[in-house]
Structures are given as C-alpha cells and as structure tokens.
C-alpha cells in the first residue's frame, strides 16, 4: 500500500494540480523510498542488522504526512519552481522541508510500529519510541 497518493496531496495543497501536471505518483513513490531508507538508517540500523530490515513491516498510514511533506519539499515543488527571485515555490520548499523533519521526528516520538514477528499484529513490544529530535 502506498504511503500517500495524489488525493492526499490535494488535502494539504488544494491547488497542487493547477500547474499542468496530472499526477505526482512518481514523486510520492520516490519520497516513500527515501523515507524508508531514512527509517532504516536512523532507527532500524541503530540496534538491528541492517540487512534484516523489511519495509513491509512498517505501517503505511504512520508515514503518510511525512511522505507528502517530503515529496513537496524535495521533488514536487522543485519541479514546479522556475528558480527565479521571489519564486513562491522556493519558499514553499523551505516550509515543507521543515514540516517534513518535524513530522518525521514526531512519528518517532509517538512510536514507530514495526511488525517484527510478521503476525499482522502490532504488539506493544513492536512499537518503539525515540524521543530525540533527528534533523538532517
């Protein structure tokens, strides 16, 4: 299941499809991959064997907002921007980059769910809480 789809983007930026682009699925998919890579690097690899990381054991909905913010900041808005002075898309990039980092840290603090035994149930021992704020 995808972490975020076009309709989720519209909920955050209602006019995102007013710029001649019909879908941002490619950008959202890229961001999903980037976020999974960061989860693996910043959380899983701290106390687990990196080769055992299974992204399908995460909960997609936990990472929806982080995926949207990441896609906006790193892929969608740069695609729209004409990179001229006073370009509104560049200002939005900065805004969503901050939102992305805040959201990522907030998810870790609220508890990252990982179905370690693969039984489809997220028991209390399969939710990990990380309190420090991670910024990159």
């Amino acid at each position: 299941m995808a972490y975020a789809i076009d309709e989720d983007l519209v909920a955050i930026v209602p006019d995102i499809f007013d710029h001649g682009v019909e879908s941002f699925t490619v950008e959202l998919t890229r961001s999903e991959g980037d976020i999974q890579r960061r989860i693996k690097a910043d959380w899983w690899s701290i106390s687990h064997d990196p080769t055992n990381f299974d992204k399908t054991k995460l909960i997609a909905s936990e990472w929806k907002r982080a995926t949207i913010y990441h896609a906006l900041a790193y892929y969608i808005l740069p695609r729209l921007s004409n990179f001229q002075a006073d370009d509104t898309f560049q200002r939005q990039m900065t805004f969503y980059k901050e939102r992305y980092h805040e959201e990522f840290s907030a998810v870790l603090a609220a508890g990252i769910s990982y179905d370690l035994d693969g039984d489809g149930v997220y028991e209390s021992g399969e939710v990990d809480f990380i309190k420090e704020r991670l910024y990159r």
Partner: protein, 145 residues
C-alpha cells in the same frame, strides 16, 4: 442560480482543451496570470480570454450574442527556433481540432468558428506566443445571459 450561457460556453472551451493529451499542454486558464510566478510545468500555457461581445435582438424575448474569444498559447522560451515553431503549430492544430469536434459547445452555442490565427510573437515574459481568435455565437432569452 443556473450558470449563464457565456460561462457554460467558456467552461466548455476550458474543459475540452484540458482533454488534449498530445501534444502536451500545461495550464489552461481563463484567469490572468503573472508569468513570473507560473510553474515551469504550466508551459505550454493556454490563456483564454473574452475580448469582445456583441448582442442583438432576434425576437421580443430572444437575443443573439457573438462572443470573441482569444486563445493564446505561450511556450517557455525566448526564440522562435524550428522546434518551437513545430511545437506551436502542433498545439494550434490540436486546439482547432478539439474546438471543431463540437461547435455547439456542449449544446450551449449555435456556432464556434475559428476566425484568425495570429503571428507567432516573442514576448517580454519571455515566452513565444501565438493567439487564435474564435467567434462563438449563442442565443439566450431575456435576462439569462
């Protein structure tokens, strides 16, 4: 309150142009745009504007209106290269075909007629622009424009 005929006609023009997939169009809009703030993906940008409208009585309760609509295509760039000219002519052709497919504008008009296709121009934005002028005739009864 029901939409006016002129709005329905304009909406139909926008909706039909938005269905053009090849050649690719960017943003299709009836609103004036600040070109400095347009997204790169908005090009080729198509601006639609009513430039003139005349009306005459054809019966006690009925009027005939003729709306002149400018459809301007903007390509991002400064120079009229051969590629730009080819791209522009393909877009103009696609728009013309799309408008001709239903000249009644979804049963809201009597006739849609392409009147002129202007010269390709370099603008200050900078874009390469070409404008098609379309005449659309429609009738309406008293007060319901």
């Amino acid at each position: 309150m029901a939409n006016s005929k002129r709005k329905l006609i304009l909406d139909d023009v926008v909706a039909k142009l938005k269905t053009i997939k090849s050649p690719r169009l960017g943003k299709v809009s009836t609103k004036p745009e600040d070109f400095q703030r347009l997204a790169r993906t908005s090009y080729p940008f198509v601006g639609i504007e009513i430039t003139d409208e005349t009306k005459e009585d054809i019966a006690r309760e009925w009027r005939l209106a003729t709306m002149t609509v400018d459809i301007s295509v903007h390509l991002d760039g400064k120079k009229k290269t051969t590629d730009v000219q080819t791209q522009m002519s393909n877009i103009i052709e696609a728009i013309e075909e799309k408008l001709e497919a239903d000249r009644t504008r979804d049963k809201n008009a009597q006739l849609t007629e392409l009147v002129t296709v202007g010269d390709m121009q370099e603008t200050a934005f900078p874009t390469i622009k070409q404008t098609m002028t379309v005449s659309i005739q429609y009738t309406y009864n008293k007060g319901n424009t």
